[in-house]
Symmetry: C2
Subunit: 577 residues, 2 copies
């Protein structure tokens, strides 16, 4: 079984090496006429051979993950039974079980194809076929609209099983139904991709804190209960939200090397730094909140469903990060400031084709000493945990979490952004009327600096809150803005904005433009007798940053198909006792 898996996967990878290479070339041609395709191709090729240990995980864990996730959502907002998420949870379990069997069931009404038959359909001209289990699917028409962009082409003419094992967001009833609609046949049983758990890339995931509630298990994505967040100005490491895009790699500190390249210019300097060498550089610390681009997506989803993990307001944490300054490293390499260059980061976490997770930031941010970009090896004075990027994670303060690449193994100064899926076809904002038929990721800016936001952490939705002797209730939460912009005010209302109350802020005393940590806030809200009689109120929070940007009121007009940048007023309904 193992051998067959290897041959199936390696065949499909070989078959699609053209794609990976041409995609890379395309990215470079677009931005850089001085690229070195030969070296690139060889690097990619070498990586492919490491990719063959990938296999699909069993489906069992997924259902558990969905249950957990729904449980979390119910805890978050037990009243919102009309939310799409909860509707999904209430979908007929039989329907779901049936859907999960489709791709492993032969359809007698359809013809049977060999893997070779399928393999010939690996491009738009010949048609794009894929297999999943025993099913053969023609996705030619669908491919241009694939939410994951052209990553779907990696599976063209072959099995998607190992990809869906990594990108488990596909394991939903909706996606399975969509796929079965493309069914054109059955795959020869002897060609079906099969995997076992022993060689699964998930077999070495770290243990996590029981309080982290997963939005997905594989890759592991989880947030703490937000009620705990205001208790610590520096979020305890074990409660810090985890956002992994791929399996967690295992890096040995004594074997660790960080590769550094300058792709542009005349020469092509190459440097390598061991962990010890990075630690020997001057050590700097910065307090920075890291926030997922999809934080609070579950609120946006209530307007209209979006693609993405259904995060609550807990996909954020605040920590003191310590490490070497990237600007020191780049300066030592002789890199000159430029506003046209980018710094590309690659992690050791690999997708099924051995492409690493990648992202980039402008060089001007990386070179600015006030940008405080760190090659961090400590989080709150402790070595990074594996889930947070051990041994090195780049910390890009004020910038969306996705650019804070974990398990950092390679830095490239280039005249183009990272060509990774996550930089090019994800983590971008769009107009509310842009849908999957009209979206053009190439036209939108990759998120870097994040907009101003806030959340009410206590009381929790539907909590029973006692009005105190002074006739008030107390609310607590966090507020943050990207780009080093300090929070200057948080306003709260319990009467729909007729009266606003200014919260007390707990924040560091740092200059504006370099104020990367979050602000915790506490507000006292007077309760009127009318409110007391009505026994419930809705609390709204909005923050203002040092550029006097303020949160938008509602999700309706900032809705976007990826559910990112969900920074509308945070609203929490509570019961008064």
């Amino acid at each position: 079984m193992r051998l067959r898996l290897v041959s199936t996967v390696s065949r499909q990878l070989q078959r699609h090496r053209w794609f990976a290479t041409s995609a890379t070339q395309h990215g470079h041609e677009q931005h850089n006429n001085n690229n070195n395709n030969k070296e690139q191709g060889e690097t990619r090729g070498k990586r492919f051979n490491n990719g063959i240990v990938y296999g699909a995980a069993t489906i069992g864990g997924i259902a558990a993950g969905i249950l957990l996730f729904n449980e979390l959502d119910k805890q978050r907002n037990p009243s919102s039974s009309s939310s799409p998420v909860v509707v999904h949870a209430q979908a007929d379990a039989d329907e779901e079980t049936k859907a999960r069997l489709w791709h492993s069931t032969k359809r007698e009404d359809l013809p049977t194809y060999s893997a070779d038959d399928v393999g010939k359909h690996n491009n738009p001209e010949a048609g794009i076929w894929i297999t999943y289990g025993v099913g053969v699917y023609d996705v030619t028409e669908f491919a241009p609209n694939h939410p994951g962009g052209d990553k779907i082409m990696m599976a063209a003419g072959s099995a998607i099983d190992p990809f869906w094992s990594i990108f488990q967001q596909h394991n939903t009833l909706e996606v399975l139904e969509l796929l079965e609609g493309f069914r054109i046949g059955n795959l020869n049983r002897s060609d079906v991709a099969v995997v076992d758990e022993k060689d699964s890339p998930w077999s070495q995931e770290p243990k996590r804190h029981a309080l982290l509630k997963p939005a997905s298990e594989r890759p592991f994505n989880a947030e703490p209960p937000i009620g705990l967040l205001p208790d610590h100005f520096l979020t305890p490491n074990e409660l810090f939200y985890v956002r992994n895009h791929l399996p967690v790699p295992t890096l040995q500190p004594d074997e660790y090397e960080l590769e550094l390249e300058v792709e542009s210019g005349d020469g092509k300097p190459q440097h390598k730094l061991t962990l010890e060498e990075i630690k020997a550089l001057p050590k700097h610390s910065v307090t920075a909140a890291i926030m997922c681009g999809g934080n609070r997506r579950s609120e946006m989803t209530r307007v209209k469903p979006v693609k993405g993990l259904s995060w609550g307001a807990g996909a954020v944490g605040n920590a003191k990060w310590s490490g070497a300054r990237l600007c020191d490293v780049l300066q030592a390499m002789g890199v000159q400031p430029s506003e046209k260059l980018h710094v590309i980061f690659e992690g050791a976490d690999l997708d099924p084709t051995s492409h690493p997770y990648g992202a980039s930031i402008p060089l001007s941010k990386a070179m600015d000493p006030r940008g405080d970009v760190l090659l961090a090896y400590e989080m709150n004075n402790e070595p990074l945990s594996r889930d947070h990027g051990y041994p090195i994670r780049v910390i890009v303060p004020g910038t969306v979490g996705a650019r804070n690449v974990k398990w950092l193994t390679r830095i490239i100064v280039a005249d183009h952004e990272s060509d990774s899926h996550w930089q090019q076809n994800d983590y971008k904002g769009f107009s509310p009327s842009t849908d999957w038929d009209t979206v053009d990721f190439s036209k939108s800016l990759a998120i870097q600096s994040m907009p101003v936001t806030s959340a009410i952490c206590t009381p929790m939705p539907e909590e029973h809150v006692k009005v105190d002797e002074e006739g008030c209730i107390t609310a607590r939460g966090y507020a943050w803005s990207g780009g080093g912009r300090r929070i200057v005010r948080v306003d709260l209302t319990s009467d729909g904005g007729k009266t606003w109350h200014v919260a007390e802020l707990e924040q560091e005393d740092l200059p504006d433009g370099r104020h990367y940590g979050w602000s915790l806030w506490t507000a006292r809200l007077p309760i009127t007798s009318d409110q007391k009689n009505a026994q419930h109120i809705e609390i709204w929070a909005k923050a203002v940053d040092s550029a006097y940007n303020v949160q938008p009121e509602a999700f309706e007009h900032i809705w976007n198909l990826r559910g990112v940048l969900a920074n509308a007023y945070h609203k929490v309904k509570v019961k008064l006792i």
Copy 2:
């Protein structure tokens, strides 16, 4: 008459030198233990002697200014007959005329006081009396709530006539009514302050373009018709909005000197630069929009009245500014980067006590080459006009207009912000529930970087717009964000946000963080048959900047008592034909 004026004014200025000096000392004590009060006091004293030529202007021009302003507002939004502004315009003219006579009419029911009697009441303990025309007023209780802050103390125990001649925002029915409520007596006729026009500081105002519609005549504040704005990526100089806080000074280029001081640190380097010396420095150009902090205030006023000039959406312009870089000058002076210092700017425009207009910015902005702060002598390749700061204006790209000090004569590097009224007690944002009873200016951040905003310039409100052959109408406007943040998208809707249409942008190709110019936009809006039948639509515009900050929906929740930062969605109702 002239002589009596001089003696009256100089007496009151001498009497209140204590205030100016102590206010200055207070400002420095608060921030700087190394201040040099003696030198400061001498400088101030010298300036006082220049102040005695100030006198009150005749009231005649004010009524004309109000009429003009109301006319402008009617043109802007003829349908909004319920707006406070228009209500004001419709107030009984007789009432207003009567109010304007109060302070020049002796009240037989009240006692008569001499100027000496009044002069003894110049502090909170003794009571604060002022005179206006023949009226004597006790403003002891009101003084702490004065919207202009402690500037009112400059007139304590003396005549406010020369101050109100400069700060003509007092010449409204509301203020006159408020004042008359404080009436306690009549002033001896022989002590009444009288002025003539010949020595008025307003006698040398420049000629302005007829299309500039004044929001106030003295000081001159005017904006162009916004329909003209999208016609030029670089706003023509003569149509560029003018925001003056004081009379326009007349500076001779051959006598011009820019003083430079470093107030902090061990030494106290003093430098002077002539105009020729500034022009001999390397010349840099930057395209930057300058926007008044009160731009679009007239829209915020419709929620609830605010204090301040009733600007439309035309208090913004975009120009190519050229001059020497402030960072080059500061570096040559040996100033080291610091995040704790500020750069204070003083203009040659003086208030009645000879205090200059002043403002400050963080030193980190001034020292950053990417901050592009210029000592500008050219605007769109022409020498600055007098209204725009001839011969030198500091251009602080991305920063509220008020910090772009005109007629720049002095730069001070200090460990505190400018102690000017405009830095300390104006141009700050507050919560919607903060009123003049609860406001504490010292607790709020002086506006620097401005938030994202946009405006629909065409069609104009209530314009009759023809639906074209393709069933669309075209809208045009501008969008801008502070801090060098590029506009990445402008969305428009004509159906209350059900569908949004993305505008085409015209903007410079500059890196984010240094994108200081505005973006002009054009959008095509399809008109449904329902809309066509209804014959009217409301268009909304909202912009998104590179930090993905977005405009708030409505003014209700961003209202603030000074009417600044009015960046909610711009909404324009038009008729379809």
